[in-house]
Amino acid sequence: MSLKSLDKQHAQRRQTYRAVLDNPFTNEGSLWPHVRDQQQVWELIQTVLLTRCRALADAEVPASEWPLGVTTSFNKIISLLQGEDSNSDQAEEGPLLLLVCNKDRGVSSVMLQQIPLLTYMSPYAVTLVQLPRGALPAIQTQLKSDCPEGLLLTWGGELQSLLTQIATKIDPPHLPWLDHVRFEPTALKLLKTTAPLKKSVEKTGKK
Protein backbone atom coordinates (compact mmCIF):
# COMPACT_ATOMS: atom_id res chain seq x y z
CA MET A 1 0.00 0.00 0.00
CA SER A 2 1.43 3.34 -1.01
CA LEU A 3 1.91 6.26 1.34
CA LYS A 4 -0.57 8.30 -0.67
CA SER A 5 -3.36 5.74 -0.28
CA LEU A 6 -2.58 5.46 3.44
CA ASP A 7 -2.79 9.23 3.70
CA LYS A 8 -6.20 9.16 2.03
CA GLN A 9 -7.49 6.77 4.71
CA HIS A 10 -6.47 9.22 7.43
CA ALA A 11 -9.03 11.98 7.71
CA GLN A 12 -7.65 15.51 7.43
CA ARG A 13 -10.86 17.33 6.66
CA ARG A 14 -14.48 16.82 7.61
CA GLN A 15 -17.54 17.23 5.48
CA THR A 16 -19.77 20.16 6.35
CA TYR A 17 -23.08 21.38 4.96
CA ARG A 18 -23.88 25.04 4.39
CA ALA A 19 -27.42 26.28 3.91
CA VAL A 20 -27.84 28.32 0.71
CA LEU A 21 -30.81 30.06 -0.84
CA ASP A 22 -31.75 29.08 -4.38
CA ASN A 23 -33.52 31.31 -6.88
CA PRO A 24 -37.24 30.93 -6.09
CA PHE A 25 -38.28 31.41 -9.72
CA THR A 26 -35.73 30.11 -12.17
CA ASN A 27 -34.93 26.55 -11.22
CA GLU A 28 -33.62 24.37 -14.03
CA GLY A 29 -36.59 22.00 -13.97
CA SER A 30 -39.18 24.59 -14.91
CA LEU A 31 -37.07 26.82 -17.18
CA TRP A 32 -36.87 24.51 -20.16
CA PRO A 33 -40.09 23.43 -21.89
CA HIS A 34 -40.66 19.71 -21.46
CA VAL A 35 -40.38 17.61 -24.64
CA ARG A 36 -42.51 14.46 -24.83
CA ASP A 37 -41.13 11.68 -27.01
CA GLN A 38 -37.79 13.43 -27.43
CA GLN A 39 -36.29 10.81 -29.73
CA GLN A 40 -39.08 11.23 -32.28
CA VAL A 41 -38.75 15.02 -32.22
CA TRP A 42 -34.99 14.76 -32.72
CA GLU A 43 -35.41 12.36 -35.67
CA LEU A 44 -37.96 14.72 -37.21
CA ILE A 45 -35.55 17.66 -36.90
CA GLN A 46 -32.75 15.58 -38.39
CA THR A 47 -34.74 14.41 -41.40
CA VAL A 48 -36.59 17.65 -42.19
CA LEU A 49 -34.08 20.32 -41.23
CA LEU A 50 -30.53 19.07 -40.83
CA THR A 51 -30.37 16.84 -43.93
CA ARG A 52 -31.72 19.78 -45.98
CA CYS A 53 -29.00 22.03 -44.59
CA ARG A 54 -26.39 19.35 -45.31
CA ALA A 55 -27.58 19.07 -48.93
CA LEU A 56 -27.45 22.85 -49.38
CA ALA A 57 -23.99 23.02 -47.80
CA ASP A 58 -22.74 20.18 -50.01
CA ALA A 59 -24.08 21.94 -53.10
CA GLU A 60 -22.12 25.03 -51.98
CA VAL A 61 -25.17 27.27 -52.18
CA PRO A 62 -24.39 30.65 -50.58
CA ALA A 63 -26.10 31.06 -47.21
CA SER A 64 -27.94 34.17 -48.43
CA GLU A 65 -29.74 32.10 -51.09
CA TRP A 66 -30.93 29.33 -48.77
CA PRO A 67 -34.73 28.96 -48.63
CA LEU A 68 -34.56 28.93 -44.83
CA GLY A 69 -32.40 31.01 -42.54
CA VAL A 70 -29.92 29.26 -40.26
CA THR A 71 -27.49 30.76 -37.79
CA THR A 72 -25.32 29.45 -34.97
CA SER A 73 -23.75 32.79 -34.03
CA PHE A 74 -24.68 33.73 -30.45
CA ASN A 75 -24.70 37.47 -31.06
CA LYS A 76 -26.92 37.14 -34.13
CA ILE A 77 -29.32 34.83 -32.29
CA ILE A 78 -29.55 37.27 -29.39
CA SER A 79 -30.11 40.30 -31.61
CA LEU A 80 -32.87 38.44 -33.48
CA LEU A 81 -34.53 37.29 -30.28
CA GLN A 82 -34.34 40.72 -28.70
CA GLY A 83 -35.70 42.36 -31.86
CA GLU A 84 -32.63 44.60 -32.10
CA ASP A 85 -31.77 43.65 -35.67
CA SER A 86 -34.06 46.24 -37.26
CA ASN A 87 -32.31 46.20 -40.65
CA SER A 88 -33.04 42.58 -41.41
CA ASP A 89 -36.60 41.32 -41.54
CA GLN A 90 -35.55 37.69 -41.16
CA ALA A 91 -37.59 37.17 -38.05
CA GLU A 92 -40.72 38.47 -39.76
CA GLU A 93 -40.41 36.00 -42.64
CA GLY A 94 -41.79 33.18 -40.59
CA PRO A 95 -41.70 31.41 -37.26
CA LEU A 96 -38.47 31.02 -35.34
CA LEU A 97 -37.19 27.67 -34.14
CA LEU A 98 -34.41 27.63 -31.55
CA LEU A 99 -32.63 24.32 -30.97
CA VAL A 100 -30.52 24.08 -27.81
CA CYS A 101 -28.05 21.32 -26.93
CA ASN A 102 -28.32 21.91 -23.19
CA LYS A 103 -27.52 18.31 -22.24
CA ASP A 104 -24.21 18.07 -24.06
CA ARG A 105 -20.89 18.71 -22.42
CA GLY A 106 -18.94 21.72 -23.62
CA VAL A 107 -21.88 24.11 -23.55
CA SER A 108 -21.57 26.92 -21.03
CA SER A 109 -24.15 26.83 -18.23
CA VAL A 110 -24.06 30.62 -17.74
CA MET A 111 -24.90 31.10 -21.39
CA LEU A 112 -27.69 28.54 -21.29
CA GLN A 113 -29.21 30.19 -18.23
CA GLN A 114 -30.11 33.25 -20.35
CA ILE A 115 -31.79 31.40 -23.23
CA PRO A 116 -35.26 30.52 -21.83
CA LEU A 117 -35.69 34.06 -20.50
CA LEU A 118 -34.62 35.61 -23.80
CA THR A 119 -36.99 33.34 -25.71
CA TYR A 120 -39.87 34.19 -23.42
CA MET A 121 -39.24 37.93 -23.62
CA SER A 122 -38.80 37.92 -27.40
CA PRO A 123 -41.35 39.96 -29.41
CA TYR A 124 -41.55 37.08 -31.94
CA ALA A 125 -43.09 33.63 -31.64
CA VAL A 126 -40.12 31.41 -30.83
CA THR A 127 -40.34 27.64 -30.37
CA LEU A 128 -37.65 26.49 -27.97
CA VAL A 129 -36.60 22.85 -28.25
CA GLN A 130 -34.08 21.19 -25.96
CA LEU A 131 -32.24 18.42 -27.78
CA PRO A 132 -31.13 15.06 -26.37
CA ARG A 133 -27.55 14.26 -25.35
CA GLY A 134 -25.28 13.77 -28.37
CA ALA A 135 -27.14 16.24 -30.59
CA LEU A 136 -24.28 18.76 -30.70
CA PRO A 137 -21.80 16.56 -32.65
CA ALA A 138 -24.59 15.64 -35.09
CA ILE A 139 -25.39 19.31 -35.74
CA GLN A 140 -21.69 20.13 -36.16
CA THR A 141 -21.35 17.36 -38.74
CA GLN A 142 -24.48 18.25 -40.68
CA LEU A 143 -23.88 22.01 -40.78
CA LYS A 144 -20.11 21.75 -41.17
CA SER A 145 -19.66 24.48 -38.60
CA ASP A 146 -18.30 24.63 -35.03
CA CYS A 147 -21.57 25.61 -33.34
CA PRO A 148 -19.59 26.41 -30.15
CA GLU A 149 -22.52 27.67 -28.08
CA GLY A 150 -24.76 24.69 -28.83
CA LEU A 151 -27.48 26.94 -30.26
CA LEU A 152 -29.11 26.79 -33.68
CA LEU A 153 -31.74 29.30 -34.75
CA THR A 154 -33.73 28.75 -37.93
CA TRP A 155 -36.50 30.77 -39.52
CA GLY A 156 -38.53 30.81 -42.71
CA GLY A 157 -41.93 29.84 -44.06
CA GLU A 158 -40.77 26.28 -44.83
CA LEU A 159 -40.52 25.52 -41.12
CA GLN A 160 -44.28 25.80 -40.59
CA SER A 161 -45.02 22.11 -41.27
CA LEU A 162 -42.17 20.98 -39.01
CA LEU A 163 -43.32 23.29 -36.24
CA THR A 164 -46.91 22.07 -36.34
CA GLN A 165 -45.64 18.49 -35.97
CA ILE A 166 -43.31 19.45 -33.10
CA ALA A 167 -45.73 21.77 -31.30
CA THR A 168 -47.94 18.93 -30.09
CA LYS A 169 -44.97 17.31 -28.37
CA ILE A 170 -43.55 20.37 -26.62
CA ASP A 171 -45.07 22.09 -23.62
CA PRO A 172 -45.41 25.86 -23.96
CA PRO A 173 -42.81 27.89 -22.03
CA HIS A 174 -43.99 28.51 -18.51
CA LEU A 175 -42.34 31.37 -16.63
CA PRO A 176 -45.16 32.64 -14.42
CA TRP A 177 -42.94 35.07 -12.53
CA LEU A 178 -42.54 37.22 -15.60
CA ASP A 179 -46.28 37.81 -15.98
CA HIS A 180 -47.89 37.55 -12.58
CA VAL A 181 -45.56 37.15 -9.66
CA ARG A 182 -46.93 35.01 -6.90
CA PHE A 183 -45.10 34.39 -3.67
CA GLU A 184 -42.91 31.31 -3.76
CA PRO A 185 -41.76 29.54 -0.59
CA THR A 186 -38.10 29.74 0.40
CA ALA A 187 -36.04 27.34 -1.73
CA LEU A 188 -33.33 26.27 0.70
CA LYS A 189 -30.61 23.83 -0.22
CA LEU A 190 -27.60 22.32 1.49
CA LEU A 191 -24.22 22.76 -0.13
CA LYS A 192 -21.60 20.10 0.56
CA THR A 193 -18.21 21.51 1.52
CA THR A 194 -15.25 20.49 3.68
CA ALA A 195 -13.52 22.10 6.64
CA PRO A 196 -10.18 21.28 8.29
CA LEU A 197 -10.27 18.89 11.23
CA LYS A 198 -7.33 20.39 13.08
CA LYS A 199 -7.97 23.46 15.13
CA SER A 200 -5.91 26.51 14.29
CA VAL A 201 -2.80 26.94 16.45
CA GLU A 202 -3.32 29.56 19.12
CA LYS A 203 -1.13 32.60 18.98
CA THR A 204 2.01 32.33 21.07
CA GLY A 205 2.34 34.72 23.95
CA LYS A 206 -1.40 34.94 24.48
CA LYS A 207 -2.30 33.85 28.02
Binding site: H10, V181, K189
Partner: protein
Protein backbone atom coordinates in the same frame (compact mmCIF):
# COMPACT_ATOMS: atom_id res chain seq x y z
CA UNK B 1 -24.72 6.33 -2.91
CA UNK B 2 -26.50 5.00 0.21
CA UNK B 3 -27.64 7.56 2.81
CA UNK B 4 -25.40 7.60 5.85
CA UNK B 5 -26.76 6.45 9.20
CA UNK B 6 -26.60 8.79 12.14
CA UNK B 7 -23.33 8.51 14.03
CA UNK B 8 -21.60 6.52 11.29
CA UNK B 9 -18.16 7.72 10.22
CA UNK B 10 -16.51 6.99 6.93
CA UNK B 11 -13.32 8.44 5.44
CA UNK B 12 -13.11 9.04 1.71
CA UNK B 13 -10.11 10.75 0.07
CA UNK B 14 -9.01 12.17 3.42
CA UNK B 15 -12.46 13.63 4.15
CA UNK B 16 -14.46 12.46 7.15
CA UNK B 17 -17.99 12.02 5.81
CA UNK B 18 -20.89 13.03 8.01
CA UNK B 19 -24.66 12.83 7.45
CA UNK B 20 -26.46 16.07 6.53
CA UNK B 21 -28.24 17.97 9.33
CA UNK B 22 -31.99 17.62 9.73
CA UNK B 23 -32.68 21.24 10.59
CA UNK B 24 -31.30 24.56 9.47
CA UNK B 25 -30.70 27.36 11.90
CA UNK B 26 -31.58 31.01 11.27
CA UNK B 27 -34.16 30.13 8.67
CA UNK B 28 -35.84 33.50 9.11
CA UNK B 29 -32.87 35.28 7.49
CA UNK B 30 -33.28 33.20 4.35
CA UNK B 31 -37.02 33.82 4.39
CA UNK B 32 -36.41 37.55 4.65
CA UNK B 33 -33.94 37.49 1.75
CA UNK B 34 -36.37 35.42 -0.32
CA UNK B 35 -39.19 37.86 0.36
CA UNK B 36 -37.06 40.90 -0.51
CA UNK B 37 -35.90 39.28 -3.74
CA UNK B 38 -39.44 38.49 -4.83
CA UNK B 39 -40.53 42.05 -4.05
CA UNK B 40 -37.66 43.41 -6.14
CA UNK B 41 -38.60 41.12 -9.05
CA UNK B 42 -42.26 42.08 -8.82
CA UNK B 43 -41.49 45.80 -8.94
CA UNK B 44 -39.12 45.28 -11.88
CA UNK B 45 -41.56 43.19 -13.90
CA UNK B 46 -44.68 45.21 -13.18
CA UNK B 47 -42.95 48.38 -14.35
CA UNK B 48 -44.96 50.57 -11.96
CA UNK B 49 -41.71 51.83 -10.52
CA UNK B 50 -40.57 54.00 -13.41
CA UNK B 51 -37.46 53.58 -15.53
CA UNK B 52 -35.13 53.95 -12.57
CA UNK B 53 -36.65 51.02 -10.64
CA UNK B 54 -35.83 52.82 -7.42
CA UNK B 55 -37.97 50.68 -5.14
CA UNK B 56 -36.86 47.41 -6.73
CA UNK B 57 -33.23 48.45 -6.36
CA UNK B 58 -33.80 49.41 -2.75
CA UNK B 59 -35.24 45.97 -1.99
CA UNK B 60 -32.37 44.24 -3.82
CA UNK B 61 -29.78 46.31 -1.96
CA UNK B 62 -31.49 45.58 1.33
CA UNK B 63 -31.44 41.90 0.46
CA UNK B 64 -27.72 42.01 -0.29
CA UNK B 65 -27.02 43.79 2.99
CA UNK B 66 -29.02 41.23 4.97
CA UNK B 67 -27.23 38.41 3.19
CA UNK B 68 -23.80 39.86 4.02
CA UNK B 69 -24.64 40.85 7.57
CA UNK B 70 -26.19 37.52 8.57
CA UNK B 71 -23.86 35.44 6.39
CA UNK B 72 -26.89 33.79 4.81
CA UNK B 73 -25.53 32.74 1.44
CA UNK B 74 -27.31 32.57 -1.88
CA UNK B 75 -26.53 30.45 -4.93
CA UNK B 76 -24.61 32.00 -7.87
CA UNK B 77 -27.66 31.47 -10.12
CA UNK B 78 -29.54 33.99 -7.97
CA UNK B 79 -26.66 36.42 -7.59
CA UNK B 80 -26.18 36.55 -11.36
CA UNK B 81 -29.65 38.09 -11.72
CA UNK B 82 -28.70 41.19 -9.71
CA UNK B 83 -26.48 44.02 -10.94
CA UNK B 84 -23.57 44.51 -8.53
CA UNK B 85 -23.40 48.23 -9.18
CA UNK B 86 -26.98 49.52 -9.19
CA UNK B 87 -28.81 46.46 -7.72
CA UNK B 88 -31.25 46.18 -10.64
CA UNK B 89 -32.84 42.80 -11.26
CA UNK B 90 -31.47 41.75 -14.64
CA UNK B 91 -34.27 40.78 -17.00
CA UNK B 92 -33.55 40.62 -20.78
CA UNK B 93 -35.21 43.40 -22.83
CA UNK B 94 -36.22 45.21 -19.64
CA UNK B 95 -33.08 45.99 -17.70
CA UNK B 96 -30.35 43.97 -19.42
CA UNK B 97 -28.71 43.26 -22.77
CA UNK B 98 -26.84 40.04 -23.51
CA UNK B 99 -23.89 39.83 -25.89
CA UNK B 100 -20.61 38.03 -26.46
CA UNK B 101 -17.35 39.82 -26.96
CA UNK B 102 -14.05 38.02 -27.64
CA UNK B 103 -15.55 34.80 -26.31
CA UNK B 104 -16.78 36.40 -23.08
CA UNK B 105 -20.46 36.43 -22.27
CA UNK B 106 -21.43 39.94 -21.23
CA UNK B 107 -24.51 40.96 -19.30
CA UNK B 108 -24.91 44.69 -19.82
CA UNK B 109 -27.15 46.36 -17.25
CA UNK B 110 -29.12 49.45 -18.20
CA UNK B 111 -26.93 51.41 -15.76
CA UNK B 112 -23.97 50.64 -18.04
CA UNK B 113 -22.10 48.15 -15.88
CA UNK B 114 -20.92 45.03 -17.66
CA UNK B 115 -20.60 41.62 -16.10
CA UNK B 116 -18.25 39.35 -18.03
CA UNK B 117 -18.08 35.57 -17.92
CA UNK B 118 -15.06 34.18 -19.81
CA UNK B 119 -16.95 31.15 -21.09
CA UNK B 120 -14.46 30.49 -23.89
CA UNK B 121 -11.79 29.38 -21.38
CA UNK B 122 -13.66 26.22 -20.40
CA UNK B 123 -17.13 25.81 -21.86
CA UNK B 124 -18.03 22.85 -19.70
CA UNK B 125 -17.04 24.61 -16.47
CA UNK B 126 -19.50 24.53 -13.62
CA UNK B 127 -18.68 26.09 -10.27
CA UNK B 128 -18.82 24.06 -7.05
CA UNK B 129 -22.37 25.18 -6.21
CA UNK B 130 -23.64 24.43 -9.72
CA UNK B 131 -22.67 20.77 -9.67
CA UNK B 132 -25.64 18.55 -8.90
CA UNK B 133 -23.65 16.21 -6.67
CA UNK B 134 -22.82 19.05 -4.26
CA UNK B 135 -26.38 20.24 -3.68
CA UNK B 136 -28.97 18.58 -1.48
CA UNK B 137 -32.61 19.68 -1.58
CA UNK B 138 -34.40 19.92 1.73
Amino acid sequence: MKPMAKGSKHVENGVLLTPPPRNIGNKEHFQRINHLYQLAVWHTISGNDGGEQALARLYAKNMDSVSKRTRAETLPQLKRTICKKCYRILVPRKTMRVQTNLGCLQLVCSCGSVRSFPVHMDRGYRCHAERDENLISI
